[in-house]
Amino acid sequence: MTKKYEIAVVGAGPGGLSAAARAAALGISHVLLEKSSAIAATIHKYQKGKHVMAEPSILPLRSEMPFAQGTREKVLAEWHQSLREHRINIQLGAEVTTIDGVKGDFRIRLSNEEQVLAENVVLGIGVQGNLRTLGLAADDSTFVEYQLDDPDEIQNEMILVVGAGDAAIENAIALSKQNKVTIVNRRDEFTRAKEGNITQIQDAISAGDISCLFDSQPIGISPVDSGSACVVTLSTAEGEVALSANRVIARLGAIPPRGLVESFGVTFPSEDPSSLPVLSTRYESSVPGLYIIGALAGYPLIKQAMNQGYEVIDYIQGKPVQPADHDLLAEKFHVLGVNNSVDEVLAMMQEKIRLFSDVNPLMFRELILDSLVHKPNSGEIIFRKNDYTNSFYAILRGEVLIKLESGEAITSKQGDFFGELSLLSGRRRSATVLAGDNCELVEIPRRCMNKLLNSVPSVKQVLDETFVLRAIQGRFAPELSIAELQPIASSALINEYQAGEAIFNEGDDADALHLIRSGSVSVLKTYAGKELPVSYVSAGNYVGEMGLLGGHKRSATVRASVKTQTISVNTYNFKRLLASNENLKTRLEEVMQSRLQDNLSRQSSEEAAGVLDFLLRQGLGEATDVLLINKSLCINCDNCETACAQTHQGTSRLNRQGGAIFAEVHVPTSCRHCEDPHCMKDCPPDAIQRAPGGEVFIGDNCIGCGNCEQNCPYDVIQMAYPSTEGKGFWRALFFGDAVPKPKSRTATEGETGDTSAAIKKAVKCDMCKDLTGGPACVRACPTGAASRLAPEAFVQTISERYL
């Protein structure tokens, strides 16, 4: 009979290791199952010498295993040693395929047909999923790699890239510059990849830069005697072929873990791929006895996972242990001056703030850990109109005053929330908010709130409804009460448009007014058979009122210039609004008149329209501040880039050679400080912030994950080593080379010598928010070619220039 363990830990990542170590320390019978041949596979696969961060630094470490930031090698060595010291019962190469049974009697089946019995199961398998391997005996040989760190490090080699996805294509193209590359595709064409990548690989193949084997698959890899190369046997349509190669790079994708976890019986709250499994405060999933920790539980950081590993064992043992974040939370709640325990306060918060009542307590705890609790004095300003902050506030007690444009103030009471407009639109604050009497607030950062919105549909629904209501109230009918507006608001629709999609077309029947919730739109008129933009409308404003007020046909086409959400109010409801409010009509007519004039004057210049069209196509529709270069003044001196590099640790955050040009306007590759920054979307340490002045910047706590670099559609973020200072000016003057040339993107990688101490971090334009004189690039331009403008300003200047 197979031995039954008290605890089986699946996944020897930081969380799993920590849990097994705790179990071992407590003398509990346990087993640690790891599918790969090494512990901490993700860290193991890091580039050599990569720096491992220990974020968040305020959180204490609670684990039997040591962990401090350091190089990958140091961290792994410590864990290996700890593994031996604690006599952890670990099984490597044990891939779990199924788990069934109930608490006290779980049956874990492995891929090698073995079974493990356990009373409790702790899942710490992370979110990476399983990388697909070649499935050959030589899978783990030194010739086979499953990722590519730096293609420029490899030169003059014969390389076989296996796979047909984006990763494989990108690797193959990057490597082909300096190597002889053969790409191996299982099928007879490339279909799985992005269109751009497919075009590129096809071009490269037809140009002979890359050779390709279609309908082929490697079936064997054997080293040759010299040792630096191997011979790969492939099955192709023409039969078996042997190729010599210096390395094989397999990019076959990964199998995401959700399906596996769901097969264990664990439920997820939504279909959203980013949603997390339902867990109790003690990390127990919907299957009793099955615990989930680490990234899969929504804790992507190493230290959190290790803490959970420790705590989960104690929970299983029924020990009354407080989570590691207890002290931090207690500290946060100190301001409230209550004597209740942390758990009671958290429960009280969920009870009082209706919005959060449906949230999983564990998730709520995590949310509050990242949030701030305020107790402002009466009359204190919480935020001002036009501030660029975008955190979300919930009222725990007391009330706040929201000052409207008209000067009146709306009171918001306990359980209510505010700040959702900026949260959702990414725009500046639309009103000033003052604290009322006995006010207690919870401030939730935008990132945490977005995470919550994605995983808890009810929160999203409540927020959306409130947003619509408030938007309509704020824009059209401040005089009306919420109750009066409710029927109109509930009939309003939230529409989402992709960039370039038409919201309505010229000549359509006017059926609704659109309030732009996020993104921005361009107003276009057909002119001599060509659609030319006449205006640009940003979030918080509305379009379509002309059709409703004036005629019944749309006078212009409105297209989303970026991904845009609008709230549409249909004709019937709009008429009701008008009827209920006498001032509204006059106000709308004034707006309409000025727009008509604008449109008239602007459409008379095709050139202005052309420039506007170009700028909108460059993504300036979602920009708040953009660097433009006047090509008639630019002398290619690169002083802007040098200035940027010199004021920002040696790496230029703008690429003057990049970007597009139209007429005399050049939009170089440089941050546009988007309204709703793409880069902010997925930043694990929340290092990307928006400064009060609107500057989107990356803080020092960047962990170098590269998510933002990939998320930015404008290619303005790059990963770079912080560089040491150049020579002094005078030395440079006399002997040269003092002012280092701004490094190109490829050169930054691997060029800066001491890679063991530093890690590459994301760098981007911060608009020189810490310099007194403003953006260095603009100040350093000797001819006045460079300027930074807000979209409204450049629309204005373009009109002035061409009219």
């Binding site: 082909s176 300096q178 002889k180 002979g208 830069d209 190369a229 010599s244 210096n246 002997f735 040269g736």
Partner: protein, 570 residues
């Protein structure tokens, strides 16, 4: 020719064989070559193999580094076993194979870049030609420092090197610092800068000037004005050198008027000079230096009298009516009436600047003869010896009465004398003759002194001696030699003018009139530097800085004196 070519890449297992047919086997990086070497170091066309009389021959194109058996080659005949290296490629000549003219083995170390990167071949800036802005800057700066600073500095600082460097034609010396030519007067100094510029960073010292200009005099009395050492002013303040066009003397009046404009403050009580800041508008009236006879001391004093004074009088003690002499109808001369002009008495001095003093013997005696006896018209009395006149007359008449035959009629007759016998007179007769002569002499003297000859021009006083004899004294006369000694006036440039334009002699009836022109008279033509229609007149046009009366400058440095003489001064 028919060649067997075996090629192999580093990574490849075995040689690939092919046959080449053609006259010329080309090796290079370009695709159009027969053997393509993918290596950036190999030129597009590198070398060629050909068959020459049955032997394989290598010729290298251009100047790539091609080595034959490790020696650089430009072409050679090849034998089996020869190794040719070009870049990463090695060609070995193999032993001939049957059916082929020759066999080559081509081995390439590594693969080069796939495509030619045109972009990389751009010479992006001038820097690639070896000319950099920094390099050029250094070159220019170093060149200029060497030629224009170091070499001249050696001349200045190393006396031993001075002459050799100056003598060398090719080496620049301190001549490059010369900012302009020297004045003609100083040309004898030549290129020897240190002759005047003795110490670096110290202005040219006055003593250096005085080494040559030994006789130059001071401006003002060193005793009365010990601190009018002119302070900051140096010789070079007024004597400016190295200018082009050269003007050695700075004529700018401001150098003078800086002090003289407010001379009262400057010199306190030590001077009676009037302030002057400008000739046209603030110049005081001229003063003339008159000679006044002091009875008490029987001498002449100089008296400064402004021409603006109304009762000014010349006191030469001479009687001279200019109007009579200059009467256009003439004046009674010795023989006839003559019309006189100024120049009859006032003769221009050599050089023409001024006039010789008027002298009685030279200028008056033509008409004014000192005869005393119409019977003896040729006899004249001496001029200026009034005391001797009476004795001379007595002697003259005594001789007449005692000896001469031609005594006047009515004289006492003496006994006739016998020939050969000394004429002897009786005592009484002698006495009588002498009395007669004395009487005659006295009457003549009385006439001369009091009515004719002397009295025409001179004032004569008559007195009686103790013996009761009358005696006459002629008052002393002194004509002014230099009316305005403080200035220099050159008549020559004014020669075109008539004398009467400035000197109103025709209207002068008495000698006490002062005929010097006034300030206004000069100002009718001369003005200040700002004048539009007048001759611009600077101070030094009339006044000399170096005052001949003030002793030599040499050996007495301006600034060193006051402390010696005037130690009490703060």
């Amino acid at each position: 020719m028919r060649l067997l070519i075996k090629t192999k890449l580093k990574n490849e297992e075995s040689f690939q064989e092919r046959t080449f047919l053609g006259a010329l086997l080309r090796l290079g990086r370009a695709s159009d070559q027969d053997i393509v070497i993918e290596d950036e170091a190999v030129p597009l066309s590198c070398c060629e193999f050909s068959l020459d009389a049955g032997e394989l021959r290598l010729s290298v194109l251009g100047k790539p580094l091609v080595f034959l058996n490790n020696k650089k080659t430009l072409g050679a005949r090849l034998r089996p076993g020869d190794k040719i290296n070009a870049g990463s490629c090695q060609v070995t000549v193999l032993e001939p194979v049957d059916g082929y003219d020759a066999a080559l083995a081509v081995f390439t170390e590594r693969r080069g870049r796939k495509t030619t990167e045109l972009q990389d071949s751009l010479r992006e800036s001038l820097a690639t030609t070896g000319v950099s802005k920094r390099g050029l800057s250094w070159l220019l700066v170093a060149g200029i420092l060497l030629t224009c600073l170091l070499a001249p500095l050696l001349v200045v600082l190393e006396p031993e090197l001075r002459e050799p460097i100056r003598a060398a034609v090719m080496i620049p010396d301190d001549g490059v610092w010369d900012s302009g030519p020297l004045h003609n007067a100083h040309r004898t100094i030549g290129d020897n800068c240190s002759a005047c510029h003795e110490t670096p960073f110290v202005k040219v010292q006055n003593n250096t000037c005085l080494n040559c200009h030994q006789q130059i005099t001071h401006h003002a009395s060193m005793f009365r004005f010990p601190d009018v050492g002119l302070g900051e002013a140096r010789c070079a303040t007024c004597h400016v050198e190295h200018n082009n066009p050269s003007a050695l003397i700075n004529k700018d009046s401001r150098g003078c008027t800086n002090c003289h404009g407010d001379v009262a403050t400057f010199a306190e009580t030590k001077t009676t000079l009037a302030p002057v800041s400008d000739f046209e508008f603030s110049h005081p009236e001229f003063k003339v230096s008159l000679q006044v006879y002091d009875q008490k001391f029987a001498g002449w004093n100089t008296q400064r009298v402004s021409l603006s004074e109304t009762n000014k009088q010349d006191s030469s003690q001479l009687k001279f009516p200019h109007d009579v002499h200059l009467n256009p109808e003439g004046i009674e001369g010795r023989d006839a009436r003559v019309v006189m002009g100024c120049a009859d008495c006032h003769q221009v001095e050599m050089g023409g600047a001024s006039y010789e003093p008027v002298r009685m013997e030279k200028d008056c005696s033509g008409c004014h003869q000192l005869t005393f006896d119409t019977d003896f018209p040729k006899r004249q009395l001496p001029h200026g010896e009034a005391n001797l006149l009476v004795p001379i007359l007595e002697e003259f008449y005594a001789r007449q009465t005692l000896v001469s035959q031609d005594l006047e009629p009515g004289r006492p007759t003496f006994p006739a004398q016998r020939p050969g016998k000394v004429t002897r007179m009786e005592a009484a007769l002698r006495e009588q003759a002498l009395v007669m002569a004395k009487r005659k002499a006295r009457s003549t003297a009385e006439m001369i002194f009091e009515e004719t000859t002397c009295a025409i021009c001179h004032d004569v006083t008559r007195s009686t001696t103790d013996t009761g004899q009358p005696s006459w004294t002629v008052l002393p006369v002194k004509l002014v030699a230099t009316w305005m000694p403080k200035s220099i006036f050159d008549h020559k440039p004014h020669a075109d003018q008539s004398c009467g334009d400035c000197h109103q002699a025709k209207a002068s009836a008495v000698a006490t009139d002062i005929l010097m022109p006034t300030l206004a008279s000069c100002q009718s033509c001369h003005g200040s530097e700002h004048s539009r229609n007048k001759v611009i007149s600077e101070c030094i046009d009339c006044h000399r800085f170096h005052n001949p009366n003030q002793g030599l400058m040499r050996g007495r440095e301006f600034s060193s004196l006051p402390t010696v003489l005037n130690g009490a001064k703060p």
